[in-house]
Amino acid sequence: MADTALAHGADHGAPHTTTGLSNNKLGMWIFLGSECLLFGGLISTYMLYKGRVSAGPQPDQIYDIPFTSVSSFVLLMSSLTMVLAVSAAHRRDDRNTNLWLTVTALLGATFVGGQVYEFTAFYREGLGFTTSLFGSSFYTLTGFHGVHVTVGIIMLMALVGMVRRNRIPGSKAETVELIGLYWHFVDIVWIVIFTLVYLIPS
């Protein structure tokens, strides 16, 4: 909520802030900075433990690289559709904003669906959450990422509803852009995870 006295000018166009960035956007950037360290901690834990398999399957025995590549591609494409949504919002084109937001949410949901499938497949192959250090750290890392994508999907769908009912205060384009920042961040984190977890052999 940026409706304090100083940001008052936001209703009438340019926000009156010291940096020129709106409070919400600066807040989102700073929050994402913090998220880097959250994933940094989780990724470090995984890197430390990926080779420690006291029981159950080894990483390279269960990873299905082609399948995960496809779902990664889907997630990366959702960044493209997110950009299209932001661009439509800047053009004040509500119809296309909503269209691309919905497509982004669907692509994200496809990725999460792929992750659910992958988790069940791994579980059937004998990798439970408590099986080994590898199992615990794998599910924790990718699970945290999956939760972030899911939260993103909820935000996208809420945004679609709010755009449709014309219930967004201040600049609509900026609100779409904020969710976009979060969404791109989650995608970039996945590029790191996909490379470190799946592509580099243990």
């Binding site: 913090s34 360290l37 420690r52």
Partner: protein, 671 residues
């Protein structure tokens, strides 16, 4: 709740025309609460000053709780074979003493000062995200209460405040104490993270015109550095706490050594958080004394840019020294050498600050008021604690000192002698600003001297105890092994216990001082500017009005308030007073801003944060309760998002042409 459609008080103050008020459409239960003077207003407030006071009061309560825990520890150790606490109770006592003092006293007390004074010091009317600010306070409070309910539900956490795994796994710590600890700190962690984002955005984005970064008061500077430290340190401890709670609640294997786990994982994560954390605790107090020493020396702060930048340097280097907490864990010679050097290096910017404070006092017209005494107390005692800290950076020496009372002596000198003395300096200095009355100077001097004597009697002997080999966290010492003569640990333990009670009397005098000041009719209302201060927060009424400044000042100088009161005579180069504080304030208020929008009160911050302890109790006792808590969380978040952005009785500007009357449905999606 009845909503009376009328212009609110601040509009009347601001002189806005009541005809400009257009109450927004009421949205049933999603209405904003109206302003009121009852106690209920404190539950729904988003005013940074009220939240600051609430942080302060609640944190001081936890200070007393943590202090009683400390006194019990000292009673136990006052004689050989102490019988007051069992070994198990003793473990809980030192764990909760540290946790309470760090997470429930110093950090929130810093939040109290930062919330109250940062917007005032930069010339803002509130923080960037007022509802999130309120949410952070309630999260912290509920987290702290949740943590302390473990005392009544089968015992508190007993693993020491850094809670080394695997000792903290269910195998070695089967009671629920550590579950409460882990989950409670997760909740208070949310408060730290949201507070960090909020204050960083506030400082970067909401400065008054002309308030450049290098014109900000040092307290604001240190707050900014600390909030960046919190921003990056909190997620690391969050990961560690998640790993531990997954292990304890869902049988994950992170710290299961039989499965090949590395016990150093927890230590690294804990200290990557933990070392920046010690700067999080001390830097705000550095900021407070950097405000106080110039005022009572009648001189500008010596080397202002150096003080600001050395604080930032401490913030950076603070990330590269964490493993000096782990010299005894077998890191290997290269790591030990690197961290040893880095630790020596971080003493440099800290020493620079001490030199700056001394140079500020040098040649100044010193007045030894109570805030100044506490500030000087910090400078002296922190220097002692800092020097014993440098001895830790020497790894071979540190290996001898690890886990002895020497470490306890060191960190109490920097945290009690440093951080807490800084906070007390802040209490005395800013008391008239917040509560209109000045705390008694004579009682304050008793308060100060008893605390100095008590603090040095308690923690000074611990250097000797530690070097004699008394391990920390042992619940007894025996006469047979106490040693002879000057180094008899029995003697020094008794001195330390005696000192702790003198310290407690000192703190008690502070409480008596508060009661005396506010009950006694002899204590008059303090003048507007009792200390002849230098920075913007004193350019407001005592206490500041809800919107802080009737008109936002334009800043032309470092120490703006001072420069408005004093000017240099161009002929004689003599600095003399050109205006009183009252005149400065009257001039500033001569042309008040119109249509001041203050953020409206909200029910949702307290309700959303209330769901978090419910979820956590559910996680420990009953998964069904967890579901109820989660549902409550979702519902309240929905309420938060659907809340109209203004209260029905708020000031309202007419919508800009072309916006089509959408103003009645304005919602605040992000916070």
């Amino acid at each position: 709740m009845a909503i009376i459609e009328r212009p609110s008080a601040e509009i009347a103050v601001a002189g806005a025309a009541p005809s400009g008020v257009k109450p927004s459409e009421a949205l049933g239960v999603f209405k904003r609460p109206a302003a009121s003077t009852s106690w209920k207003d404190w539950l729904v407030t988003v005013d940074h000053k009220k939240l600051g006071i609430m942080y302060g009061v609640a944190a001081f309560f936890f200070f007393i709780v943590g202090g009683v825990e400390a006194l019990l520890i000292r009673l136990q150790l006052a004689g050989p074979e102490g019988k007051i606490l069992s070994a198990d109770q003793y473990n809980q006592m030192f764990t909760m003493h540290a946790t309470t003092m760090v997470f429930l006293f110093v950090m929130p007390m810093v939040s109290a000062f930062a919330n109250y004074f940062v917007p005032l010091q930069i010339g803002a009317r509130d923080v960037a995200f007022p509802r999130i600010n309120a949410f952070g306070f309630w999260c912290w409070l509920f987290g702290g209460i949740f943590l302390n309910t473990s005392w009544f539900l089968g015992g508190a956490a007993d693993g020491g405040w850094f809670m080394y795994a695997p000792n903290s796994s269910t195998l070695f710590s089967p009671s629920h104490g550590i579950d409460f600890w882990v989950l409670g700190l997760q909740i208070t962690g949310i408060a730290s993270l949201t507070g960090a984002i909020n204050l960083i955005v506030t400082v970067l984005n909401m400065r008054a015109p002309g308030m450049k970064l290098m014109r900000m008061p040092i307290f604001t500077w240190m707050t900014l550095v600390v909030q960046f430290l919190l921003l990056f340190a909190m997620p690391v401890i969050t990961v560690a706490l998640f790993l531990l709670s997954f292990q304890r609640s869902f049988d994950a294997t992170f710290f299961d050594v039989a499965a090949g786990a590395d016990p150093l994982l927890w230590q690294h994560l804990c200290w990557i958080f933990g070392h920046p954390e010690v700067y999080i605790l001390i830097l705000p107090s550095f900021g407070i004394v950097s405000e106080i020493i110039p005022v009572f020396s009648k001189k500008p702060l010596f080397g202002y840019p150096i003080v600001a930048m050395s604080g930032a340097a401490i913030g950076f280097v603070g990330w590269g020294v964490w493993a000096h907490h782990m010299f005894a864990s077998g890191l290997g010679p290269v790591s030990v050498a690197v961290f040893s050097m880095a630790t020596m290096a971080i003493a440099v910017p800290t020493g620079v600050k001490i030199v700056n404070w001394i140079m500020t006092m040098w040649g100044g017209k010193l007045s030894f008021t109570v805030p100044m005494l506490f500030a000087i107390g910090l400078v002296v005692q922190f220097t002692i604690g800092g020097l014993s800290g440098v001895t830790h950076s020497v790894a071979p020496s540190d290996t001898q000192q690890t886990d002895t009372y020497y470490i306890v002596a060191h960190f109490h000198y920097v945290l009690f002698g440093g951080a807490i003395f800084g906070l007390f300096a802040g209490f005395y200095y800013w008391w008239p600003k917040i509560f209109r009355k000045q705390l008694s100077e004579s009682l304050g001097k008793w308060n100060f001297w008893l605390m100095v004597i008590g603090m040095n009697m308690t923690f000074g002997p611990m250097h000797i105890l530690g070097l004699q080999g008394q391990p920390r966290r042992m619940q007894v010492w025996t006469e047979a092994r106490a040693g002879e003569g000057f180094f008899n640990i029995g003697f020094w333990n008794r001195i330390a216990s005696l000192g702790s009670f003198i310290l407690a009397v000192g703190v008690l005098l502070f409480i008596i001082n508060i009661i005396y000041t506010h009950k006694s009719k002899k204590v008059a209302i303090a003048p507007l500017d009792p200390w002849d201060a230098r920075s913007l927060e004193w350019m407001t009424a005592n206490p500041p009005v809800e919107h802080n400044f009737d008109s936002i000042p334009t800043v032309n100088n470092l120490d703006e308030f001072f420069h408005r009161k004093y000017a240099e005579d161009p002929n004689t180069h003599e600095v003399r007073q050109v205006a009183t504080a009252e005149e400065v304030l009257a001039e500033l208020n001569a042309h008040p801003d119109e249509h001041i929008h203050m953020p409206s009160r909200s029910y949702w911050p307290i309700l959303v944060s209330l769901s978090l302890p419910i979820i956590c109790y559910g996680l420990i006792y009953n998964r069904l309760l967890m579901g109820v808590g989660a549902a409550f969380l979702l519902l309240t978040m929905f309420g938060w998002a659907m809340e109209p952005s203004t209260a029905p009785d708020d000031d309202f500007d007419p919508p800009a042409p072309g916006e089509g009357g959408g103003h009645t449905k304005e919602l605040a999606p992000l916070g």
